[in-house]
C-alpha cells in the first residue's frame, strides 16, 4: 500500500504507487485529468504526492515515449503552417508542464539524438532554462551565471520605448528613450517578445581602452559628438495632480488663481504661468517653485462659529508647485473627474535628459558603469578610417568578471554592422564565433577585432591595438538629475529644530554617532561643537532657581517666572535638543536645575 498526499495532505492509499502515478500521467496527457496537476512518486519512502496548488514554478518539456519524441513531423509541419499552436500541443499531450517534484521522476534529454529508451522527456530548447530577460543576453552560455543575473537585472532598469501610446498616458515617474534601436546581436527571445516593438537601447561603437583615468572603477567615457547627435537622450515625465476635495460643511477646494488675500500666498511671480482657470498652459517652461495648478482650500479648523462666517475670507493656499530642484516643460493637461465625482486635474511635465556625468549606462552583460567624462569629439581616439568610439569602456572590468559574452557581442556587432545583417546570439544556439571572425577578416578588419587607434589629442598612434566593436548599450533609469542633493541652509524640524532628513525635504546629511567619534579621536573639540551647532539656541537662565527664564522683547527685559525680576538672568548657549529635554523632564515632574559658573 502506498500513501497518497494531495497538496501535502494525506488523502488515502493506493495498491501500487508507481503504477498509479503512471496511469494518472497518461490520463493527464489524454486530457482526462487537468494539466495543472503534477504527480511525484518517492521511491525511498514509497509515497505519492499530487500537487495542484498555485504558486509552483513549472516548465514545459516534450513528452518522450519509448525513446521517441512525441512531437511528430506532421505536427511540426502543422506548426510551420500555423495550423496548430502551443496550446494544441499541450492539449494533445505532446508538451507538458512539470514542477520541481515531478522532475525528480524524469530523465530529460537535451537534444533529439541523445534520446534512449530510458528518457521520459526532451528539452524544447536549452534556452528554456532561462527566464525572459536572461534569455535576452546574447552569447549567455559564455558567462558565469552571476553575470547573467546581473545582466538581466540591469536590462529591467533600462530606458526604452515602453508603450506606443505614451503620449496619451499619465504615468507616474516614467522615462522614454529617444531614438531607441533594436539590437544588431539578438537572440530568439527578441523575436518572441516583439522586442523591436519596444526596444530599450542603442547600437553604438565601443572601444576597450583606458582614457586619462576617467574610466577607472567601471566608469565609461562618452563621446560628446555622439551625445550631441542624440545618444542616450531620454525624456522624463512626471505628473502633477490636484483634486477638488470636499469637506464637512459643504466646503470645497477650488482650482483657481489664488487671491492675494489667501493665507500662505506665494510670490506673485510664482503664479505667472497660470491661465484664468488656475491651470498652467501647455509648453510653458517651469522651474523650481513655479505653481502648476493653483488651488485654495477652506481653513483647516472650523471650531467656532464666528470663524465659520469668515471662512471664505481666510482660505488657505494649497497649490501644486514644482518641487525643489526640478524643472521641465508642461507637456499635457488633463481635466477630468475621479471616482467620487470630484474635479481632478493632472498635468504632465516633461524634462529632456541629455546624458551627463554620473548617468548610468550598461551593456547586456552586467557591465554597468557611470559616465566619468564626456569628451569632445575631436579629442576622442580615432581609427585610420575615421571611426571614433561612442563609448570608451575600461579593460579592467573584463578579467575579474569574466564576461566573455561582452567581448563576443562586440565582434558580432561589428560583423553585423559591416555586413548589414542581424547576428543570432541566442544562448547555446548562437552563430559560431570562429565564423564571425573569418567574416570579419573578409570585411577587411583584423581577425581579433582590434584596430590601430590614434591619440585624439596628439594624433600619435597608440602602441597597443585597441579592441573596437559595436554593441547594444542601454541607459538606466538612475540619473544624477534625480539624485543630486546639497544643502547649506534649509528647512528644520518643528520639534527639535534640527535639519530635516532626506532629499525630498531638502534635508541635511547627518553627522552620526560614529562620525562624531572621529572628531573626538582627533581632539577637534571646537570643530565638533561647530558641526553640532545646527540647533543651537540662546536661552535665558535664572541663576537663582536654575530654570529657564523668559525674555520680554517689548520691554527688553528678562525675568524669571518663579523668582521674579530681581534675580541674575544669564543667556546660555545650548543645543535646542537639550532645552527640549529639560522641558520634557519638567513635564515629568523632574526639577533639572542648571548651575551656572564661568568655564575659564
Amino acid at each position: 500500500m502506498t500513501d497518497v498526499y494531495v497538496n501535502g495532505r494525506f488523502t488515502g492509499t493506493v495498491e501500487d504507487g508507481r503504477e498509479f502515478v503512471n496511469n494518472a500521467r497518461s490520463e493527464r496527457r489524454r486530457g482526462n485529468l487537468t494539466d495543472n496537476a503534477n504527480l511525484y512518486y518517492n521511491e525511498l519512502s514509497d509515497e505519492v504526492f499530487v500537487e495542484c496548488g498555485r504558486g509552483r514554478a513549472r516548465r514545459p518539456l516534450i513528452v518522450v515515449k519509448d525513446g521517441q519524441s512525441s512531437l511528430t513531423e506532421q505536427q511540426i509541419k502543422q506548426l510551420e503552417k500555423n495550423e496548430i499552436g502551443w496550446n494544441d500541443l499541450v492539449k494533445q499531450g505532446t508538451i507538458e508542464y512539470l514542477d520541481a517534484a515531478e522532475e525528480e521522476n524524469t530523465l530529460v534529454a537535451f537534444f533529439d539524438h541523445e534520446l534512449t529508451p530510458e528518457h521520459t522527456h526532451l528539452e524544447i530548447m536549452p534556452l528554456t532554462m532561462l527566464g525572459l530577460t536572461t534569455a535576452l543576453v546574447p552569447y549567455g552560455n559564455f558567462n558565469q551565471s552571476t553575470r547573467l543575473n546581473a545582466g538581466s537585472k540591469n536590462q529591467k532598469q533600462a530606458l526604452g520605448f515602453y508603450a506606443a501610446n505614451f503620449s496619451l498616458r499619465m504615468d507616474m515617474d516614467v522615462n522614454l528613450l529617444q531614438y531607441s534601436q533594436k539590437p544588431i546581436v539578438n537572440t530568439i527571445m527578441h523575436e518572441i517578445s516583439d522586442y523591436d516593438k519596444h526596444p530599450a537601447g542603442q547600437n553604438i561603437v565601443v572601444a576597450i581602452m583606458s582614457y586619462e583615468g576617467y574610466n577607472m572603477e567601471d566608469a565609461i567615457i562618452l563621446n560628446r559628438g555622439s551625445v550631441d547627435r542624440g545618444l542616450g537622450r531620454s525624456t522624463y515625465f512626471r505628473p502633477a495632480i490636484a483634486e477638488e476635495l470636499r469637506y464637512a460643511g459643504g466646503l470645497v477646494d477650488e482650482v483657481c488663481v489664488p487671491d492675494k488675500e489667501v493665507k500662505g500666498y506665494k510670490a506673485e511671480r510664482d503664479y505667472r504661468f497660470l491661465e484664468e482657470d488656475g491651470i498652467i498652459s501647455p509648453e510653458s517652461a517651469v522651474a523650481e517653485g513655479d505653481v502648476i495648478i493653483g488651488k485654495t482650500s477652506p481653513p483647516r479648523f472650523l471650531s467656532s462659529l464666528d470663524e465659520y462666517n469668515l471662512a471664505a475670507a481666510t482660505r488657505r493656499e494649497s497649490s501644486v508647485a514644482m518641487r525643489h530642484g526640478e524643472e521641465g516643460i508642461v507637456d499635457f493637461v488633463l481635466i477630468t473627474e475621479n471616482e467620487e465625482g470630484n474635479k481632478l486635474i493632472q498635468v504632465r511635465i516633461r524634462d529632456q535628459r541629455i546624458p551627463e556625468i554620473g548617468d548610468k549606462f550598461t551593456s547586456r552583460h552586467g557591465q554597468k558603469g557611470v559616465v566619468g567624462l564626456i569628451v569632445n569629439e575631436e579629442d576622442m581616439p580615432f581609427s585610420s578610417s575615421g571611426i571614433k568610439p561612442d563609448i570608451i569602456f575600461s579593460p579592467h572590468g573584463i578579467p575579474s568578471r569574466m564576461t566573455i559574452s561582452h567581448l563576443i557581442e562586440l565582434v558580432g556587432g561589428k560583423v553585423g554592422a559591416l555586413a548589414g545583417r542581424y547576428i543570432n546570439g541566442t544562448t547555446f544556439d548562437a552563430e559560431n564565433i570562429d565564423d564571425l571572425r573569418k567574416e570579419l577578416v573578409s570585411l577587411g578588419f583584423a581577425e581579433n577585432c582590434t584596430e590601430t587607434l590614434f591619440n585624439g589629442h596628439t594624433g600619435e598612434m597608440f602602441t597597443a591595438r585597441i579592441f573596437v566593436g559595436n554593441m547594444y548599450y542601454m541607459k538606466l533609469k538612475h540619473m544624477v538629475a534625480n539624485k543630486i542633493h546639497s544643502r547649506a541652509r534649509g528647512p528644520i524640524q518643528l520639534l527639535t529644530r534640527q535639519p530635516t532628513e532626506g532629499r525630498a525635504k531638502e534635508g541635511g546629511l547627518r553627522l552620526g554617532e560614529m562620525e562624531k567619534d572621529t572628531f573626538v579621536a582627533h581632539g577637534a573639540s571646537l570643530l565638533l561643537k561647530e558641526r553640532f551647532d545646527s540647533d543651537k539656541t540662546i536661552v535665558p537662565v535664572c541663576e537663582e532657581c536654575g530654570l529657564i527664564a523668559i525674555h520680554d522683547e517689548f520691554k527688553n527685559k528678562s525675568y524669571c517666572p518663579i523668582c521674579g525680576d530681581n534675580v541674575e538672568i544669564t543667556n546660555i548657549e545650548m543645543s535646542y535638543a537639550f532645552k527640549l529635554m529639560l522641558d520634557e523632564f519638567k513635564s515629568l515632574g523632574i526639577y533639572t536645575k542648571l548651575q551656572l559658573k564661568y568655564k575659564y
Binding site: S525, M574, F578, I590, Y600
Partner: protein
C-alpha cells in the same frame, strides 16, 4: 647606577633606566653617555601619549572596528570531537562583558617535573576528570513492587578509571537520602525507606543519582593530554582552577584557565587583568587581526580598577560613570534619570557625551586647555 643617569632617576621608568645602566657601562666617554641618555629621554617623551588624547575612544574604535570583521560562532578543537572553543566576536563579548560563567571554560594544566614526561599522563588526566555515576554504570532498573533501584555497574570502565565499588557507594551515601544501599556483585541496590507507593519519588531519585559525583575534580568535563614543546600538558574542557592548583602534580606557576572570574578569585585582580589581556589577544591573533596590545590593556585596566571584575555593561563599568547624562545615554535611560532625580544628583559635565548633548566643547584635545585669566 651611573653618575650620568642620576638626574633622570625620576624622569624615566625603571625598566629603561636599568637597560641604559647596563648598556652604557661599555661606553667610557662621559659626554657620549650623556648624549645617548638625552636622546633616549627625548624619544621617551615623544612616545608618551599627549595630554587630552582621547585614549578610551581610540581604544574602543581600535578594538571595535576589527571586531566587525570577526567570524561568529565556535570552532571545533583540532583533533577531538565534542571539544570546542568559543572564539571570535562571541568570545570577545563574553570577556568584555565580564561574564562569570564563560560558554566554554578551558584549562591548560602544566605539570611538575616527574609528571610532565608523559608517563602515566593518561591516568592522571582521568583522575582529574569529573566522573559521574552514569559514566560507570551499564543500566538503571526500577523495581516498583519492591521499591528498589538497581544499578548495574560497568566493571571495565571502573577499572579504566581506577574506581572501586566503595568509592561509588561513598559517593551515593553522601548524596542520597532516604535509601538503604545494598551491594551485591556488580549490582548496587537502593531500597526506598519511606512510605510505600512513592513511585514518583523513586523515579525522581533514579534521575538524580545519575549525576552523583563519584571521582575526580568537579567541573572538569573533558581531559586531553597534549604535547606542548618538550613536555606534556593536560588541556581540559571545564574549569576548576582552585581545586586543580591544590594538586601536588600540578605546576601552579604556569597552569592557566580562561575563566577570568575564577582567576580573579583565586589569584587576585592583577592576575585577572592579565588574563583579560591574554584572552583578548588570543582571539585577535586567532582571527588574523592586528590590534595594539595597549588598547586591550586599557580596557582590562578599566575593568579591574575597582578591585573587582567589572564588565563593560550597564551594570559594570558604565554604572560607575560619574555623569547621569552619560549613563542615561547608554542603556536604560529612564532608570538612571529617575534615580538621579530622587537623590538630586549633580552632573558636572566633565566628559564627552554630556557636552555633545549640551552643544558645549568636549573636554578633550583642543577643548581641554582653558584660560587662567577671568574675562569680565
Amino acid at each position: 647606577m651611573l653618575e650620568a643617569l642620576k638626574p633622570y632617576k625620576e624622569k624615566l621608568p625603571k625598566k629603561i633606566l636599568a637597560e641604559l645602566d647596563e648598556k652604557l657601562e661599555k661606553i667610557s666617554s662621559q659626554t657620549r653617555q650623556k648624549k645617548i641618555i638625552e636622546a633616549v629621554y627625548e624619544q621617551y617623551n615623544n612616545a608618551k601619549v599627549e595630554a587630552g588624547e582621547s585614549v578610551g575612544l581610540v581604544s574602543a574604535e581600535s578594538i571595535g572596528e576589527p571586531g566587525t570583521q570577526m567570524t561568529l560562532n565556535t570552532f571545533h578543537f583540532a583533533g577531538v570531537s565534542e571539544m570546542n572553543v568559543t572564539v571570535g566576536l562571541p568570545r570577545i563579548i563574553e570577556i568584555l562583558d565580564g561574564r562569570v560563567n564563560p560558554k566554554t571554560p578551558m584549562m591548560e594544566i602544566y605539570l611538575n617535573k616527574p609528571f610532565n614526561k608523559g608517563e602515566d599522563i593518561k591516568k592522571l588526566a582521568l583522575a582529574i576528570k569529573e566522573t559521574k555515576l552514569v559514566d560507570v554504570t551499564k543500566e538503571f532498573q526500577v523495581n516498583i513492587v519492591e521499591s528498589v533501584i538497581e544499578i548495574v555497574l560497568d566493571k571495565e570502565k571502573m577499572k579504566e578509571l581506577a574506581i572501586t565499588d566503595n568509592t561509588v557507594i561513598k559517593g551515593l551515601t553522601k548524596n542520597l537520602k532516604g535509601f538503604a544501599i545494598k551491594h551485591k556483585g556488580n549490582v548496587i541496590m537502593l531500597k526506598y525507606r519511606g512510605k510505600e507507593e512513592a513511585i514518583n519519588e523513586i523515579y525522581k531519585a533514579k534521575e538524580a543519582i545519575k549525576t552523583v559525583f563519584v571521582k575526580g575534580i568537579k567541573g572538569i568535563k573533558q581531559v586531553l593530554p597534549v604535547k606542548r614543546g618538550e613536555e606534556f600538558i593536560i588541556v581540559t574542557a571545564g574549569s576548576n582552577f582552585k581545586d586543580i592548583l591544590e594538586l601536588e602534580e600540578v605546576d601552579e606557576t604556569r597552569t592557566v584557565t580562561n575563566n577570568i572570574d575564577e582567576v580573579g578569585s583565586v589569584l587576585g585582580i592583577e592576575a585577572a587583568r592579565q588574563t583579560i589581556i591574554n584572552e583578548v589577544n588570543k582571539v585577535i591573533e586567532n582571527q588574523g587581526l592586528n590590534v595594539d596590545s595597549r588598547h586591550v590593556m586599557l580596557v582590562a585596566d578599566t575593568m579591574c580598577v575597582a578591585g573587582e571584575l567589572k564588565g563593560i555593561t550597564r551594570y559594570g563599568v558604565v554604572n560607575e560613570k560619574a555623569s547621569v547624562l552619560a549613563r542615561a545615554s547608554f542603556e536604560t535611560p529612564i532608570k538612571h534619570i529617575i534615580n538621579a532625580a530622587l537623590v538630586g544628583e549633580v552632573d558636572y559635565l566633565t566628559s564627552v557625551v554630556e557636552n555633545v548633548m549640551l552643544n558645549q566643547p568636549v573636554p578633550v584635545g583642543t577643548g581641554l586647555p582653558g584660560l587662567v585669566t577671568k574675562i569680565k
